[in-house]
Amino acid sequence: MNEIYIARSTAVASRVLDGEIVIMSAVDSTLFSLSEVATVIWQAADGRTPLSEIVRSRICAEFDVAPDAAYRDAEAFIDDLARHGILRVSSAPISRDEPQVAAMAASIPVRTA
Protein backbone atom coordinates (compact mmCIF):
# COMPACT_ATOMS: atom_id res chain seq x y z
CA MET A 1 0.00 0.00 0.00
CA ASN A 2 1.33 3.42 -0.91
CA GLU A 3 1.59 5.65 2.09
CA ILE A 4 -0.31 8.92 2.28
CA TYR A 5 0.94 11.90 4.23
CA ILE A 6 -1.30 14.75 5.28
CA ALA A 7 -0.55 18.22 6.58
CA ARG A 8 -2.78 21.02 7.77
CA SER A 9 -2.88 23.97 5.39
CA THR A 10 -1.93 27.36 6.76
CA ALA A 11 -4.66 28.95 4.63
CA VAL A 12 -7.30 28.10 7.18
CA ALA A 13 -8.73 29.51 10.35
CA SER A 14 -9.59 26.98 13.04
CA ARG A 15 -10.75 26.87 16.61
CA VAL A 16 -11.80 24.24 19.11
CA LEU A 17 -15.42 24.62 20.12
CA ASP A 18 -16.87 22.35 22.79
CA GLY A 19 -14.22 19.72 22.06
CA GLU A 20 -14.66 19.73 18.29
CA ILE A 21 -12.81 21.73 15.71
CA VAL A 22 -14.41 24.29 13.45
CA ILE A 23 -12.35 25.10 10.36
CA MET A 24 -12.87 27.73 7.71
CA SER A 25 -11.04 27.60 4.42
CA ALA A 26 -9.49 30.92 3.51
CA VAL A 27 -9.56 29.75 -0.09
CA ASP A 28 -13.31 29.59 -0.49
CA SER A 29 -14.76 30.34 2.99
CA THR A 30 -16.14 26.80 3.25
CA LEU A 31 -16.82 25.93 6.85
CA PHE A 32 -16.18 22.51 8.31
CA SER A 33 -17.27 21.27 11.70
CA LEU A 34 -15.24 18.18 12.46
CA SER A 35 -16.51 15.13 14.31
CA GLU A 36 -14.44 13.59 17.10
CA VAL A 37 -12.74 11.16 14.72
CA ALA A 38 -12.09 13.81 12.11
CA THR A 39 -10.69 16.07 14.84
CA VAL A 40 -8.15 13.39 15.76
CA ILE A 41 -7.05 13.07 12.13
CA TRP A 42 -6.79 16.85 11.77
CA GLN A 43 -4.69 17.16 14.90
CA ALA A 44 -2.40 14.33 13.79
CA ALA A 45 -1.90 15.79 10.29
CA ASP A 46 1.70 16.87 10.83
CA GLY A 47 2.98 15.99 7.34
CA ARG A 48 5.35 13.36 8.74
CA THR A 49 3.10 10.62 10.13
CA PRO A 50 1.66 8.30 7.47
CA LEU A 51 -2.13 8.09 7.36
CA SER A 52 -1.97 4.35 8.05
CA GLU A 53 -0.11 5.07 11.29
CA ILE A 54 -2.62 7.76 12.29
CA VAL A 55 -5.48 5.33 11.69
CA ARG A 56 -3.77 2.46 13.57
CA SER A 57 -2.37 4.32 16.55
CA ARG A 58 -5.00 7.02 16.99
CA ILE A 59 -8.32 6.10 15.40
CA CYS A 60 -8.43 2.37 16.07
CA ALA A 61 -6.86 2.85 19.49
CA GLU A 62 -9.35 5.49 20.60
CA PHE A 63 -12.52 4.47 18.79
CA ASP A 64 -14.23 1.12 18.36
CA VAL A 65 -13.69 0.77 14.63
CA ALA A 66 -12.14 -1.82 12.31
CA PRO A 67 -8.85 -0.73 10.66
CA ASP A 68 -10.02 -1.19 7.05
CA ALA A 69 -13.24 0.73 7.56
CA ALA A 70 -11.42 3.44 9.51
CA TYR A 71 -8.85 3.84 6.73
CA ARG A 72 -11.52 4.09 4.02
CA ASP A 73 -13.42 6.71 6.02
CA ALA A 74 -10.20 8.64 6.67
CA GLU A 75 -9.36 8.66 2.96
CA ALA A 76 -12.80 10.03 2.07
CA PHE A 77 -12.46 12.67 4.78
CA ILE A 78 -9.05 13.88 3.66
CA ASP A 79 -10.13 13.91 0.00
CA ASP A 80 -12.97 16.22 0.95
CA LEU A 81 -10.76 18.58 2.96
CA ALA A 82 -8.00 18.54 0.36
CA ARG A 83 -10.47 19.67 -2.31
CA HIS A 84 -11.08 22.80 -0.26
CA GLY A 85 -7.40 23.49 0.38
CA ILE A 86 -7.72 22.65 4.05
CA LEU A 87 -5.41 19.62 4.04
CA ARG A 88 -2.35 18.97 1.93
CA VAL A 89 -1.95 15.40 0.76
CA SER A 90 1.18 13.79 -0.62
CA SER A 91 2.76 10.39 -1.20
CA ALA A 92 5.89 11.68 0.56
CA PRO A 93 6.39 13.47 3.88
CA ILE A 94 5.39 17.13 3.64
CA SER A 95 7.73 19.80 4.85
CA ARG A 96 6.33 22.86 6.60
CA ASP A 97 8.17 25.10 4.15
CA GLU A 98 6.77 23.35 1.10
CA PRO A 99 4.81 25.81 -1.03
CA GLN A 100 1.09 25.36 -0.78
CA VAL A 101 -1.10 25.12 -3.78
CA ALA A 102 -4.54 26.41 -2.98
CA ALA A 103 -7.30 24.13 -4.11
CA MET A 104 -10.00 26.02 -5.93
CA ALA A 105 -13.49 24.82 -5.33
CA ALA A 106 -16.97 26.16 -5.48
CA SER A 107 -18.13 27.65 -2.23
CA ILE A 108 -20.59 25.57 -0.29
CA PRO A 109 -22.09 26.64 3.00
CA VAL A 110 -21.22 24.42 5.93
CA ARG A 111 -19.84 20.90 5.94
CA THR A 112 -19.76 18.41 8.73
CA ALA A 113 -16.97 15.92 8.46
Binding site: A11, A13, R15, L17, M24, A26, V27, S29, L31, V110
Partner: protein, 279 residues
Protein backbone atom coordinates in the same frame (compact mmCIF):
# COMPACT_ATOMS: atom_id res chain seq x y z
CA UNK B 1 -3.57 51.45 -14.91
CA UNK B 2 -5.58 54.59 -15.44
CA UNK B 3 -7.78 54.08 -12.41
CA UNK B 4 -4.79 53.58 -10.14
CA UNK B 5 -3.31 56.79 -11.47
CA UNK B 6 -6.42 58.62 -10.48
CA UNK B 7 -6.09 57.27 -6.92
CA UNK B 8 -2.62 58.79 -6.81
CA UNK B 9 -3.90 62.04 -8.22
CA UNK B 10 -6.39 62.23 -5.37
CA UNK B 11 -3.64 62.29 -2.76
CA UNK B 12 -3.78 65.58 -0.94
CA UNK B 13 -7.12 66.44 -2.44
CA UNK B 14 -9.26 67.34 0.54
CA UNK B 15 -12.20 69.62 1.18
CA UNK B 16 -14.97 67.66 -0.52
CA UNK B 17 -17.14 70.74 -0.75
CA UNK B 18 -15.01 72.09 -3.58
CA UNK B 19 -16.26 69.30 -5.81
CA UNK B 20 -19.74 67.89 -6.25
CA UNK B 21 -20.61 64.87 -4.22
CA UNK B 22 -22.50 63.38 -1.34
CA UNK B 23 -21.35 62.17 2.09
CA UNK B 24 -23.17 58.99 3.04
CA UNK B 25 -22.73 58.04 6.68
CA UNK B 26 -23.63 54.45 7.54
CA UNK B 27 -22.67 52.91 10.85
CA UNK B 28 -21.12 56.19 11.94
CA UNK B 29 -18.59 55.95 9.09
CA UNK B 30 -18.92 58.85 6.62
CA UNK B 31 -17.88 58.10 3.04
CA UNK B 32 -17.68 60.91 0.50
CA UNK B 33 -18.81 60.00 -3.00
CA UNK B 34 -17.41 62.60 -5.36
CA UNK B 35 -19.17 63.16 -8.66
CA UNK B 36 -19.65 66.16 -10.88
CA UNK B 37 -22.87 64.69 -12.21
CA UNK B 38 -25.73 66.50 -10.49
CA UNK B 39 -28.32 63.89 -11.49
CA UNK B 40 -26.22 61.10 -10.02
CA UNK B 41 -25.70 63.04 -6.78
CA UNK B 42 -29.41 63.66 -6.54
CA UNK B 43 -30.09 59.96 -7.05
CA UNK B 44 -27.61 59.12 -4.27
CA UNK B 45 -29.26 61.61 -1.94
CA UNK B 46 -32.67 60.10 -2.62
CA UNK B 47 -31.52 56.52 -2.25
CA UNK B 48 -29.65 57.12 0.99
CA UNK B 49 -32.08 59.61 2.45
CA UNK B 50 -31.60 59.62 6.20
CA UNK B 51 -27.96 58.58 5.84
CA UNK B 52 -26.69 61.66 3.98
CA UNK B 53 -24.68 63.86 6.28
CA UNK B 54 -23.07 66.90 4.62
CA UNK B 55 -21.67 68.04 7.98
CA UNK B 56 -19.67 64.87 8.59
CA UNK B 57 -15.94 64.80 8.02
CA UNK B 58 -15.44 61.91 5.59
CA UNK B 59 -13.28 59.03 6.69
CA UNK B 60 -13.14 57.60 3.18
CA UNK B 61 -13.50 59.12 -0.27
CA UNK B 62 -14.36 57.74 -3.67
CA UNK B 63 -14.25 59.44 -7.05
CA UNK B 64 -17.16 58.27 -9.16
CA UNK B 65 -16.62 58.09 -12.91
CA UNK B 66 -19.86 57.36 -14.71
CA UNK B 67 -19.88 55.10 -17.73
CA UNK B 68 -22.66 54.93 -20.28
CA UNK B 69 -25.76 53.14 -18.96
CA UNK B 70 -25.46 49.40 -18.45
CA UNK B 71 -27.92 46.86 -17.17
CA UNK B 72 -27.60 46.10 -13.45
CA UNK B 73 -25.64 42.90 -13.05
CA UNK B 74 -26.87 39.79 -11.26
CA UNK B 75 -23.43 38.26 -10.98
CA UNK B 76 -21.46 38.24 -7.71
CA UNK B 77 -18.89 40.97 -7.32
CA UNK B 78 -15.26 39.84 -7.40
CA UNK B 79 -13.14 41.30 -4.65
CA UNK B 80 -9.39 40.89 -4.31
CA UNK B 81 -6.42 42.67 -2.81
CA UNK B 82 -3.01 43.47 -4.21
CA UNK B 83 -0.59 45.11 -1.78
CA UNK B 84 -2.73 47.73 -0.02
CA UNK B 85 -5.20 48.19 -2.83
CA UNK B 86 -8.56 46.44 -2.97
CA UNK B 87 -10.23 45.80 -6.30
CA UNK B 88 -13.98 45.28 -6.66
CA UNK B 89 -15.46 44.34 -9.99
CA UNK B 90 -18.77 43.35 -11.53
CA UNK B 91 -20.36 43.77 -14.93
CA UNK B 92 -21.60 47.25 -14.05
CA UNK B 93 -18.63 48.63 -12.11
CA UNK B 94 -14.91 48.50 -11.45
CA UNK B 95 -13.58 50.03 -8.24
CA UNK B 96 -10.17 50.39 -6.66
CA UNK B 97 -9.62 51.40 -3.07
CA UNK B 98 -6.36 52.07 -1.31
CA UNK B 99 -6.99 51.07 2.30
CA UNK B 100 -3.90 53.01 3.43
CA UNK B 101 -4.83 56.38 1.94
CA UNK B 102 -8.56 55.63 2.41
CA UNK B 103 -9.24 56.88 -1.09
CA UNK B 104 -10.56 55.11 -4.10
CA UNK B 105 -12.36 55.44 -7.36
CA UNK B 106 -15.31 53.76 -8.99
CA UNK B 107 -16.01 53.50 -12.68
CA UNK B 108 -19.63 52.51 -12.89
CA UNK B 109 -22.85 52.61 -14.80
CA UNK B 110 -25.12 55.39 -13.56
CA UNK B 111 -27.40 53.03 -11.68
CA UNK B 112 -27.83 52.90 -7.91
CA UNK B 113 -27.06 49.18 -7.64
CA UNK B 114 -23.39 49.53 -8.49
CA UNK B 115 -22.61 52.12 -5.82
CA UNK B 116 -24.80 50.21 -3.35
CA UNK B 117 -22.65 47.11 -3.82
CA UNK B 118 -19.45 49.14 -3.58
CA UNK B 119 -20.62 50.62 -0.28
CA UNK B 120 -21.54 47.19 1.11
CA UNK B 121 -18.11 45.85 0.19
CA UNK B 122 -16.24 48.83 1.64
CA UNK B 123 -18.19 48.71 4.88
CA UNK B 124 -17.67 44.96 5.22
CA UNK B 125 -13.91 45.46 4.84
CA UNK B 126 -13.79 48.37 7.27
CA UNK B 127 -15.87 46.49 9.83
CA UNK B 128 -13.72 43.38 9.52
CA UNK B 129 -10.67 45.41 10.51
CA UNK B 130 -12.28 46.36 13.80
CA UNK B 131 -13.97 43.06 14.69
CA UNK B 132 -17.42 43.68 13.26
CA UNK B 133 -19.29 42.47 10.20
CA UNK B 134 -22.31 42.80 7.97
CA UNK B 135 -24.83 40.06 8.59
CA UNK B 136 -27.76 38.75 6.57
CA UNK B 137 -30.23 39.73 9.25
CA UNK B 138 -33.03 42.05 10.19
CA UNK B 139 -32.48 44.19 13.27
CA UNK B 140 -34.47 46.57 15.42
CA UNK B 141 -34.11 48.67 18.55
CA UNK B 142 -36.52 48.22 21.41
CA UNK B 143 -36.22 49.39 25.00
CA UNK B 144 -32.78 50.82 24.31
CA UNK B 145 -31.30 47.59 23.01
CA UNK B 146 -30.77 46.25 19.52
CA UNK B 147 -31.97 42.79 18.55
CA UNK B 148 -30.71 41.00 15.48
CA UNK B 149 -32.73 38.37 13.63
CA UNK B 150 -30.76 36.23 11.25
CA UNK B 151 -31.63 33.22 9.15
CA UNK B 152 -31.54 31.74 5.73
CA UNK B 153 -33.64 33.17 2.94
CA UNK B 154 -37.29 32.63 3.83
CA UNK B 155 -36.64 32.27 7.57
CA UNK B 156 -38.65 35.39 8.30
CA UNK B 157 -36.36 38.45 8.30
CA UNK B 158 -38.82 40.52 6.31
CA UNK B 159 -41.77 39.15 8.26
CA UNK B 160 -40.32 39.95 11.69
CA UNK B 161 -39.52 43.47 10.44
CA UNK B 162 -43.02 43.97 9.10
CA UNK B 163 -44.51 42.83 12.43
CA UNK B 164 -42.39 45.22 14.50
CA UNK B 165 -44.55 47.29 16.87
CA UNK B 166 -44.60 51.07 16.86
CA UNK B 167 -42.20 51.25 19.81
CA UNK B 168 -39.52 49.33 17.89
CA UNK B 169 -37.26 51.07 15.38
CA UNK B 170 -36.39 48.82 12.45
CA UNK B 171 -32.71 49.20 11.57
CA UNK B 172 -32.90 46.96 8.51
CA UNK B 173 -34.86 44.05 7.11
CA UNK B 174 -31.91 42.75 5.14
CA UNK B 175 -28.33 43.61 6.14
CA UNK B 176 -27.45 44.21 9.78
CA UNK B 177 -24.48 46.36 10.61
CA UNK B 178 -22.52 45.12 13.64
CA UNK B 179 -19.66 47.18 15.09
CA UNK B 180 -17.33 46.17 17.87
CA UNK B 181 -17.18 48.75 20.63
CA UNK B 182 -15.42 49.02 23.96
CA UNK B 183 -18.20 47.35 25.92
CA UNK B 184 -19.45 44.85 23.41
CA UNK B 185 -21.25 45.42 20.12
CA UNK B 186 -23.58 47.98 18.61
CA UNK B 187 -26.06 47.45 15.80
CA UNK B 188 -26.60 50.30 13.35
CA UNK B 189 -29.33 51.05 10.88
CA UNK B 190 -28.54 50.61 7.20
CA UNK B 191 -30.06 51.84 3.95
CA UNK B 192 -29.47 48.38 2.44
CA UNK B 193 -33.09 47.41 1.92
CA UNK B 194 -34.54 43.97 1.34
CA UNK B 195 -38.00 42.90 0.32
CA UNK B 196 -39.65 45.70 2.28
CA UNK B 197 -37.75 48.13 0.05
CA UNK B 198 -37.64 50.34 3.11
CA UNK B 199 -34.48 52.07 4.23
CA UNK B 200 -33.70 51.34 7.88
CA UNK B 201 -33.69 54.01 10.53
CA UNK B 202 -30.35 55.74 11.04
CA UNK B 203 -30.05 54.81 14.71
CA UNK B 204 -27.85 52.56 16.78
CA UNK B 205 -27.97 50.78 20.12
CA UNK B 206 -25.98 48.26 22.15
CA UNK B 207 -26.64 44.76 20.94
CA UNK B 208 -28.93 42.84 23.27
CA UNK B 209 -29.31 39.49 21.58
CA UNK B 210 -28.97 37.54 18.37
CA UNK B 211 -31.87 35.37 17.29
CA UNK B 212 -31.88 32.63 14.67
CA UNK B 213 -35.28 32.80 13.04
CA UNK B 214 -37.46 29.79 12.34
CA UNK B 215 -41.11 29.76 11.50
CA UNK B 216 -43.17 27.44 13.68
CA UNK B 217 -46.59 26.81 15.20
CA UNK B 218 -46.04 28.96 18.31
CA UNK B 219 -43.83 31.75 19.53
CA UNK B 220 -40.97 30.64 21.74
CA UNK B 221 -37.32 31.23 22.44
CA UNK B 222 -35.15 28.13 22.55
CA UNK B 223 -31.59 28.07 23.94
CA UNK B 224 -28.87 27.14 21.50
CA UNK B 225 -25.30 25.98 22.11
CA UNK B 226 -22.26 27.95 21.00
CA UNK B 227 -21.37 24.93 18.90
CA UNK B 228 -24.45 25.54 16.82
CA UNK B 229 -24.25 29.33 16.90
CA UNK B 230 -20.79 29.79 15.40
CA UNK B 231 -21.36 27.93 12.11
CA UNK B 232 -24.81 29.44 11.75
CA UNK B 233 -23.44 32.93 12.34
CA UNK B 234 -20.54 32.46 9.93
CA UNK B 235 -22.92 31.18 7.30
CA UNK B 236 -24.82 34.48 7.42
CA UNK B 237 -21.90 36.90 7.53
CA UNK B 238 -21.33 38.69 4.23
CA UNK B 239 -18.04 37.55 2.75
CA UNK B 240 -17.20 39.45 -0.39
CA UNK B 241 -13.59 38.34 -0.54
CA UNK B 242 -11.60 35.17 0.06
CA UNK B 243 -8.56 37.16 1.09
CA UNK B 244 -6.79 34.88 3.54
CA UNK B 245 -6.14 37.45 6.26
CA UNK B 246 -9.66 38.83 5.98
CA UNK B 247 -11.28 35.40 6.27
CA UNK B 248 -9.21 34.57 9.34
CA UNK B 249 -10.07 37.89 10.94
CA UNK B 250 -13.79 37.49 10.39
CA UNK B 251 -13.64 33.90 11.61
CA UNK B 252 -12.04 35.08 14.86
CA UNK B 253 -14.55 37.92 15.11
CA UNK B 254 -17.42 35.44 14.94
CA UNK B 255 -16.03 33.47 17.88
CA UNK B 256 -15.48 36.67 19.85
CA UNK B 257 -19.02 37.79 19.08
CA UNK B 258 -20.52 34.49 20.23
CA UNK B 259 -18.59 34.65 23.49
CA UNK B 260 -20.09 38.07 24.28
CA UNK B 261 -23.59 38.18 22.83
CA UNK B 262 -26.58 36.13 23.96
CA UNK B 263 -27.99 33.98 21.17
CA UNK B 264 -31.07 31.80 20.88
CA UNK B 265 -33.49 30.33 18.35
CA UNK B 266 -36.62 32.38 17.90
CA UNK B 267 -39.39 30.16 16.66
CA UNK B 268 -42.33 32.27 15.63
CA UNK B 269 -45.69 32.23 14.05
CA UNK B 270 -46.22 35.23 11.82
CA UNK B 271 -48.25 37.54 14.00
CA UNK B 272 -47.27 40.54 16.07
CA UNK B 273 -47.39 38.63 19.39
CA UNK B 274 -43.87 37.38 18.73
CA UNK B 275 -42.63 40.83 19.73
CA UNK B 276 -43.86 40.20 23.28
CA UNK B 277 -40.80 37.99 23.62
CA UNK B 278 -38.39 40.67 22.43
CA UNK B 279 -36.97 43.48 24.56
Amino acid sequence: MAVLSSISALAGHVAPEIAGGVTVEIGGIPIFLRSGNADFCEMIERRYAGFVNPAASPEYEFDIDLNPPAEPSDEDARVWKRDDVWFFERGDFHAEWDSRTRRGCVRQAPNPYAIDTVLRIVHSLVLAEEGGFLLHAASAIRSGQAFVFTGVSGAGKTTISRLAPSNAAVLTDEISYIRRCSRGYRAYGTPFAGELARVGENLSAPLGALYFLEKGPANRIVPVSNRAVVPALLRNILFFSHDEQLVKRVFDSAFEFVSRVAAARLIFTPDERVWRLIG
